[in-house]
Structures are given as structure tokens and as C-alpha cells.
Symmetry: C2
Subunit: 337 residues, 2 copies
């Protein structure tokens, strides 16, 4: 495209290597002021921009990090992306976001694509339908950090949330209000956070001597429509639940749609608590109390770990658990018994 090192060197009447050293400001460098000036003048005159591709090739480093997430439309993942991006910028890295749309094939393609493009590290929220590509990264000792989701079978870097405990607490809140039939609507059941949340849900029921009822559990795809269907089914049960734990932002919209259609009033007719907070939760048809994730912290921590692992390959893996906040917006009330 534009001017190259060579062009600058020619104009300044020096060797390209000299220009390079001046630009990179190599230590212990002995270059006369006169030469430096000529070089800087030439750079300005030619509007020289170093070719990062060439640099990357030579340095085997691209100053680029890949982020692979299942849904760029999700406020949760976008929050993480923003915070990660901010950290990257601080350190002079560029973030490449890849959206897999919860599709395993796309994720695998994204991993190899980004790897092949020479990113220095990866942050991945995996689809969790398969994991050989993850294993491959481990074998290659390629620096990466999993976020939100985690494979129990592999030791890797990971930044996850205390989903089990959060679900436990949320359901405890409902139980304390007198609810005994509590619905659970989530995305795909194989996702780590879903597994954990369901586990927390089961634990708290058991501890409070409430029976676990499979009819109240719906785990399907993380789409609005499926969540809507699930909610309708829940509400049409002979004895419907008096409260619902919702785990997912988009899923929340599906539930709201059903609530509107069934003309239920929250929290009078139905108490709900949703996982994953968004700025929007206040403006819904009925504001929703949520379990809020500290997206900034997730992004910051993930970058921190990744950055360390990019610098040296023999670090032990870190697994960090970030806790959540409960944001009460009065979408829960005492059960009508």
C-alpha cells in the first residue's frame, strides 16, 4: 500500500535496519541526532505506517487477541467484550470478536481461523457440544482462557461465576417467601452454568425438604421462542408454579412474552428472578429482579490471566470464580397460599 521501511530508508539515506531501530527505539542504540531527524522527517513526508503483517511474521507475535462468544447480541457477553477490549487497548492489543451463534462448527472454525491468523491468545465462551479443539489448544500449549463456561474434564484457565451458589440463593429467596413450586427455565442443559444453576436449585430444594419435580424444569435452546413455549407449558400445568427462576437474558424475554399473553401480573400472580442483569431490566413490562454478573471483572480477570500466560508458557492454569450480585426489582412476592 503505502511507503515501506525501504522507502523511508532511501529518502533518509540510511539502511532500513537503521530506520527500524530508530522506530523501535532499541536500547543502547547509538544513532546520531542528525540521522534520527532525517529519518523522522522521511517518515512524516511519506506518511509511513509500519506493515503489521510483516512485523507479525517476523516477530511471531501479532498483538492481537481473539474473543469467541456464542452471541454478540447478548448484553452479558457484550459487556465482557467491552471490558476485555478496554484491557487490550491499554496494552496495545487489538481484539477480534468472533460470534459463533451457539453453533459448535462455527466455534471450531473460529478457533482455527484465529489461530491461523496468528492471534497471541484466545478468550473463549465455548458452545460445549464438543471439546477436541479445546484439547488441541491445550496440547499446543496455546494461551487461552475460558469464560462463563468450563469443562470439568480439562484443567484450563477459566473465569467463571459462582452459578451454583447464586442459583441456590435466588431460589432460597423464593422459598423464604413461601414458594413451593418453583419453575426453572434455562438454555441448553449441557452448558456448565446451566448445570451448576440446576445443581444449586436442586440443593436448596432438598435442604428445605421440597420435592424436586422434573415437570417444572425446562432446558432447551436459548431462544426467545423456546423460552416462550416452555413458559406457556409451565403456566398451563394443572398446578402451575408460583415462581420461576429464569437463567438467561433472551430467555427472560420469552418468559415475559408468555406472562403478557397469559395476563399474569408480576409479582402478584407469579414471582420471577432472572439470571443475567441488563440495563434494560428496569424498563420491562414488569421490572425483573436479577442475578447480576460482574462483566467488567470477568473481562479484566480473563485478560490478566491470558496476558500472563502469553508471556511465559509454563505457568499453572488459573481458575477464577467471580461472584454475583442480586438486584432486587420487586418481581418477587409472598406466595399466595
Amino acid at each position: 500500500m503505502g511507503a515501506t521501511l525501504k522507502d523511508v530508508a532511501a529518502l533518509a539515506n540510511v539502511h532500513p535496519s537503521t530506520v527500524s531501530r530508530v522506530l523501535r527505539n532499541v536500547e543502547n542504540l547509538k544513532i546520531s541526532e542528525d540521522t534520527k531527524e532525517r529519518i523522522f522527517k522521511a517518515i512524516k513526508e511519506l506518511n509511513y505506517q509500519p506493515d503489521q503483517t510483516a512485523r507479525s511474521l517476523r516477530l511471531k507475535k501479532s498483538f492481537t487477541i481473539g474473543l469467541i462468544i456464542p452471541n454478540v447480541a447478548s448484553p452479558y457477553f457484550i459487556g465482557i467484550a467491552r471490558s476485555l477490549d478496554a484491557e487490550c487497548t491499554k496494552e496495545g492489543y487489538t481484539l477480534i470478536i468472533s460470534d459463533t451463534n451457539e453453533n459448535q462448527e462455527k466455534e471450531i472454525k473460529a478457533v482455527y481461523d484465529l489461530y491461523s491468523r496468528g492471534v497471541d491468545g484466545l478468550v473463549i465462551a465455548p458452545v460445549q457440544d464438543s471439546d477436541e479443539h479445546i484439547k488441541d489448544l491445550i496440547d499446543k500449549k496455546f494461551p487461552f482462557v475460558l469464560i462463563d463456561r468450563y469443562f470439568e474434564k480439562y484443567d484450563t484457565n477459566a473465569v467463571i461465576c459462582n452459578d451454583k451458589e447464586s442459583a441456590y440463593n435466588a431460589v432460597k429467596h423464593l422459598i423464604d417467601l413461601g414458594h413451593k413450586r418453583i419453575g426453572f427455565i434455562s438454555g441448553r442443559p449441557n452448558l456448565y452454568p446451566v448445570v451448576e444453576r440446576l445443581e444449586g436449585y436442586k440443593n436448596v430444594l432438598e435442604e428445605n425438604n421440597l420435592e424436586f419435580n422434573q415437570d417444572l424444569i425446562f432446558s432447551s435452546s436459548p431462544t426467545l421462542d423456546d423460552a416462550y413455549e416452555a413458559s406457556i407449558k409451565l403456566m398451563e400445568l394443572p398446578v402451575p408454579p408460583t415462581a420461576i427462576l429464569i437463567t438467561g437474558t433472551i430467555i427472560t424475554f420469552g418468559v415475559l412474552k408468555a406472562i403478557i399473553e397469559k395476563k399474569k401480573t408480576v409479582p402478584k400472580d407469579l414471582s420471577i428472578i432472572a439470571f443475567t442483569d441488563t440495563i434494560l431490566a428496569s424498563y420491562f413490562m414488569s421490572p425483573v429482579s436479577t442475578v447480576s454478573h460482574k462483566v467488567d471483572e470477568i473481562g479484566t480477570k480473563a485478560f490478566e490471566i491470558l496476558f500472563e500466560h502469553m508471556k511465559s508458557d509454563d505457568l499453572p492454569y488459573s481458575k477464577v470464580v467471580i461472584d454475583t450480585n442480586f438486584v432486587d426489582r420487586n418481581s418477587t412476592a409472598k406466595a399466595n397460599i
Copy 2:
């Protein structure tokens, strides 16, 4: 990292150039089946992945496209990003999304960063506080397409919406319902779409013999808080407006917040129409009628134009206008006169 062409060549007992040709499936290629087989076997054995950085350097082409948007948290821009990403994938390109957060400096940095990283083209929704970097791209004959926003002073590729007409129609809808005092709340007034929408707003007032009143106009930052403040001011006017045209998704939330706080009922007390539709609009405190943009079409069209311009440098620039849909959700009613 992994194996290189050379390694594959050595294992297959051929010259690297031969491997390259086999891989790229060069036309009119004469390579014996035997050799091909040895090469493929070696590739598999070494798990060879071509180094895209090296390819890019040599080919002066990275199969990468940059997207620069002011806000990755905006459903509108994310919608465009997704559609663009889909198109890129179809053609074997990788999309790099850069978020400027409506910050001009960041945008300039992003442009030069991506350029320097060798993207083959750019799609930009500019901040519009300055434009020298845009001019620079024009001078360099670098392929790029503006979206949503446009500089009247430059001839460039652009995919924009018929904002003027859309605003005209939306306000006409309100006027037909008997509204005479119609507020206008928007983001930064220098943005092309804002200028256009205000123009449409003014035109329709004039054509209907209604007076333009500066007190009803609020253009500031595209934040929830500023929009909230503006709404409060509007509602506290001695004679407040009976309807509001809102231009922006986040801004809509700000207005909703004010509406909730002022305990207004939509559309009984106040009619509203918001620009930029989102799947969420149905689930707000009060559903909002919106002007919906065809984000898919914007992304598709932008890619199409960019793709053409990446192939040949002497094409005339295209400016495409995408029209909008009005989605009625009953947030407007007859004015109480």
C-alpha cells in the same frame, strides 16, 4: 507455532512450492497423483495449518474486513454486524469489529490500526466529529463503505436509511392523530441521521402549518441519562408536548425512565414513536411503536458494495438508501384536545 510448508515439503519429499500449489489447487496444475497423496498425508500427519500472516504478506491480502461502529451494545449496530459477518463468512473473510464508543479519537486509531493490520476493506459508522481520516482513505483509494452516517461533503460508498422521510412519516402519523406539540429527542446533533430526521420533522410541521418550537428539541449525547434529563425537561414545560419522537434505542430507555418516574401512561398521556426497533420493544413497560431499520439489508448491501470495490479500484462510488418499516405497537393515540 506448528508445522510450516517447508516441514510438509520435507516429509513429502518435494519442494515447498509444490505443496503450496497443491494446497491452492492451482489451475492447469500438473502434479502426479502419487505426489499429491504424499503431500496430503504429510499435511495430515503434521497437522499443518497455513500461516495466514505469511500469506497475507506475500499476497498483500488478508481476507479480513474491519467494521468500525460506535457502540457494540446497540442492537441496531450489532444487527448490522451480524449480517455483515454472515456475508463475510460466505466469502471466506473474517470480520474484525472495533468499537469506538462514539469517541472520535478511538475511531481514528481504529482506522489506522486496522489499515496497518492489512484489512482488505472497512465498513464504518463514523462518529462524525472529524473526517480527515476518512478523506485519507479516499485519497489512498482504500475500499470502504460508510453505514448509517454519511458526509455530505465527500463522495463515498454509503449505505444509509431514508431518515428524513421516515421521520416525516412518523411525525405525520402523530399530526394526523391531532398532536400539535411534538417533542424531538435525539443523540448528537451533528450525526447525519439526526440532521435528516430533524429535517423531516421540520418539513412535516411546516407542511401542516404547525410552528417549529426549539423548546421541544433536545439533541445531546446518546446516553440514557441525558435522554432522561431531556425528557424530564420536556414534561416539565409549562405546556408540555403531547407526543415525542425519539431517535435512538438507548435514548428510548432514557425516555421510558422519565415516563415511569412522571407516572405518565402511554399512549393516554403521551404518544411516543421511537427510531430503531429492537426485539425488546414489545416487552417494555409500555410497548413502543418504532421505526424499524432493515439491519440485514444494510449489512448485506454494505458487503456487496465493499466486495466490488475490493476487486477493482476504479468503480464509481455507490450510495444506497434503505427504507424503513413502521412497527405499530399502539404507543400513539389521539391527542386530548
